[in-house]
């Protein structure tokens, strides 16, 4: 794949206005699938969670999962949408081997939720009101694995395997209206929007919301128009953007790619594009046009979904705090600076911090660990993911330091053992005997041993040259393999000098 020529980002924004649109697919975490009783579970043996309905055997009929409908209504309400009193499913007809029926049962002209809005804060602190066009229910397709061939795509593969475990898993697709006016922050806004949606569905408990498992997937539409132009530009739809970071990168890439083409008199082809995280680029997929003919028609095998007013209101009553409200509350409770708080939000660590504080850690201590050492380890790991540690363990670690049981250096060592799966921090400290030595006798012996090789140090301290103490402290720490409390060593040294 040849990397396309790109225009410098700032230059692109000087010349063009960016319009984006986002389609987010949320996989619901219902016990069973959308239209059958099969388990909705990730990671099982291929084709074990299947039945005549989800592999579309002749004669099988769908029946709507009520919990999925309720989850969809909750999502709609949390996005400030109207809920349709009646909504039909429709068939979207196209042939593809991961689509058992060769049509997708979806909602077309009668989505369950429509006309909402979501306030989204970007890293600069600016708040954008993103208008939601609709949220509708549909089913996921199966998973194809292409064997042979070099690209891993269906073209050129020797054969392909289909796993229908995912076929029929309930999805809610949330579609924004075109988003104007984000300017240079369009990429950040796209990522921040998806993060907000993810927070909402996670807070509602209707999705596991794990992007790395595809629970939340985003297609990003990007188009440019000359500044001052009325007419919208041709858009591309970038698929397969499955992390917040890639959403931001993909949107930025498309802006630069399209700007280069337009500035050189070219035209944008309306198409789906695929994001390649490794190459940091998109590649052309299927040409797409508004005339794509899916032959939608009302699904005759299902009666319309007709949620009663009472049901809608009872679901509304269960809605948790809105993400924006929650942020305001947490910022107040934690007493972070504006910058500190925004960094936490942007690092996507709000949940972890909240849980760590709930487990007893001081907010600043929790922030220090998640934003510091743990973020560093995550960055260095191959997946770039948060290491395998629970907020409760982080809180325990912070408590051990606060109680003076371990020092910072020991804490980092303990963390390593926690990540290696040795147990909780307290267990590790006692099993490995890592507690800070505060027995003055052992410390004095070590100090005296150190002073024997550096007899001038006590004089230097008496003369007020405290830097001389550092050498002895270092020697003591070394001798005691780090388990000494440096502050106490310093105190003892001063006492000895002043005797």
């Amino acid at each position: 794949m040849a990397k396309a020529e790109l225009m410098n980002y700032e230059q692109a924004l000087e010349q063009f206005e960016v319009v984006i649109g986002l389609e987010v697919h949320v996989e619901l975490n219902t016990n069973t699938k959308m239209f059958c009783g099969c388990k909705n579970e990730f990671g099982n043996e291929p084709n074990t969670n299947v039945c005549p309905i989800c592999i579309a055997l002749p004669g099988a009929l769908p029946a709507v999962n009520k919990t999925a409908v309720e989850s969809s209504i909750k999502i709609g309400l949390a996005l400030g949408c109207e809920i349709a009193p009646t909504g039909r499913f429709a068939r979207k007809n196209y042939f593809y081997p991961d689509l058992a029926k060769n049509f997708q049962t979806s909602q077309y002209d009668e989505p369950i939720a429509f006309e909402g809005a979501l306030e989204v804060e970007v890293p600069s602190g600016a708040v954008h009101n993103v208008l939601i066009e609709r949220a509708h229910m549909e089913e996921d397709a199966g998973k194809l694995t292409h064997i042979g061939g070099s690209t891993g795509r269906i073209q050129g593969a020797e054969y392909s395997l289909v796993d229908y475990n995912r076929a029929g898993v309930p999805l809610v697709e949330i579609v924004t209206k075109p988003i104007y006016g984000a300017g240079s922050e369009a990429p950040e806004l796209a990522a921040a929007y998806v993060r907000s949606v993810r927070e909402i569905v996670k807070g509602l408990g209707v999705s596991d919301a794990r992007m790395e498992r595809g629970n939340v997937r985003c297609d990003a539409n990007v188009s440019l128009r000359k500044k001052g132009a009325e007419k919208l530009g041709t858009r591309t739809e970038t698929k397969n953007v499955n992390s917040l970071r890639s959403i931001e990168r993909a949107v930025r890439y498309e802006i630069q790619r399209q700007a280069h083409i337009l500035a050189n008199g070219g035209t944008i082809i309306q198409e789906t594009r695929h994001w390649h995280e490794d190459k940091g680029a998109t590649s052309a997929g299927r040409p797409k046009s508004d005339a794509d003919d899916y032959r939608y028609f009302p699904e005759p095998d299902l009666v319309p979904v007709q949620p009663s007013r009472e049901l809608i209101e009872s679901l509304r009553a269960t809605l948790p705090e809105k993400p924006a409200d929650r942020r305001k509350r947490l910022a107040g409770e934690w007493g972070f600076s504006e910058l500190e708080f925004r960094d936490v939000v942007n690092a996507d660590l709000l949940d972890q911090l909240e849980e760590t504080v709930a487990a007893g850690a001081k907010p600043q201590a929790a922030r220090k660990w998640w934003m510091g050492e743990l973020a560093r380890i995550a960055n260095e790991s191959e997946e770039g993911a948060i290491p395998n540690i629970t907020p409760a363990q982080v809180a325990e670690l912070a408590k051990l330091i606060e109680d003076g049981k371990i020092n910072d250096r020991l804490a980092r060592e303990v963390l390593g053992y926690v990540l290696a799966g040795e147990g909780s921090p307290a267990e590790i400290v006692s099993a490995r005997g890592l507690e800070v030595v505060s027995d003055d006798g052992a410390l004095i012996a070590a100090i005296e041993a150190a002073l024997a090789t550096q007899p001038d140090v006590l004089d230097a301290i008496r003369e007020g040259r405290m830097q001389a103490a550092g050498q002895v402290i270092g020697a003591v720490m070394k001798a005691m393999a780090g388990s000494a409390d440096a502050a106490r060593v310093r105190e003892l040294l001063i006492e000895m000098a002043n005797k």
């Binding site: 005549p52 002749p58 004669g59 099988a60 007809n93 081997p97 032959r295 028609f297 009666v303």
Partner: protein, 500 residues
Amino acid sequence: MTDLIRKTASELAALISSGEVSSVEVTRAHLERSDAVDAAVHSYLYQSPEASLIAAAEADRARAAGEVSSPLAGVPIAVKDNLATIDAPTTSGSKILQGWQPPYDATVVKKLRAAGMPILGKTNLDEFAMGSSTEFSAFGPSKNPWDLTRIPGGSGGGSSSVVASFQAPLAIGSDTGGSIRFPGAVTGTVGTKPTYGAVSRYGLVALASSLDQIGPVARNVLDAAMLQDVIAGHDPHDSTSLPESLGSMTAAAKKLDVKGMRFGVIKQLAGDGFQPGVAARFRESLNLLAAAGAEIVEVDCPSFEYAIAAYYLILPAEASSNLAKFDSVRFGMRVEPGEKATIERVMAATREVGFGPEVKRRIILGTYALSSGSYDKFYGAALKVRTLIQRDFDAAFAKADILVSPTAPTTAFKFGDKIDDPLAMYLNDIATIPANLAGIPGISVPNGLAEEDGLPVGIQLLAPAREDARLYQAGAWLEKAHEEIWGKRMIDFAPELEVN
């Protein structure tokens, strides 16, 4: 044995229940009848002699143990081959499904088994129930027992001929535009299309989901009523199935009373242009009803003029989508296109070989009707006609309790007469199609013989949705009136089949 096979299902049920004969004896008698005549009639695509005898023995054991499973316990039955059966292939009359055995039973099949009814086999049909003669079955047509050179009606010609040739006392059919009622009319048997949603469609290989309805096929009205009582009821697996019970059809069939009932003659289906014998018998039945104290009124259904046109857009549209799953990926036939096999080429080659001409015709028609640019002109317009037809019915039922018409314009035609003329074939269903478009119930009851060819004709009764009981009440009365006039049951006029 001859004796047993000519009995009605209700008579057989009584004999089995009292212990005078066993279900095994009854089942064996029908299997032997099939051995003798089915080579000529070709009602069956698949027979289950062992399984049906095992089920019969179980029914006998249950009876002896005092377990009562249903009023039809022990009575054998044949099932149209578009219903999924876990122990028998299900082809829907298509090569593309040849040899496919479902891993599950249709809800109706489950109900039959739970009712203690041995399943004798799977009956022939036009491919995917698309046709009016069984000539579009991929496995050859079934014959009309009245005249083996004539069609037994379609698509359920296997089910109509199996009861008309005494190979089974009862059968299950499916009716999308007349596939139960038209075969009933041309074979001198009874067939009901219940209210849409009265019987679960789960496990019925779909033709057009919004039109399909499973129903009973029998030799008399009471038997059909008893069978509907066995197969009807809400099914959580079919979200279009009605939540409520429609009451006892059996009780309705035993009332034998039409006094004070209002019968509406549909102006557009009053017999004009129909075969003379068909029209004559129809008028005679109206006179019978009037003489018995029923009221005869005329009703106007102007939108019926567009019913066939609307039907042949809605049906192909739904069918084109329903039949998309036949792609060789998960079940059924797979045709390798030779070199450079891609998934598209395998799908195309399989569908090219696996589907017959009528199926392809309707898939193309339906795909076109749904495509953007055509949708409003065709599919959308057809939905509007559908609404108008429903309104016509609403207005008609304000004046009448039951609507009546001949079931079909003609008696059974000869093989080959209409096979090359789709429009002529489609016109057979002119009287039956409106009921499917409106979701209302209809029954075809034998209505005497046409003097010009000596073949049976049928009368169709239609009732408002959920009022199936009215059909059985009036149908049973008409049946009895005809028996009194003609001296015996219509089916007993059928010539004896040559026995192997």
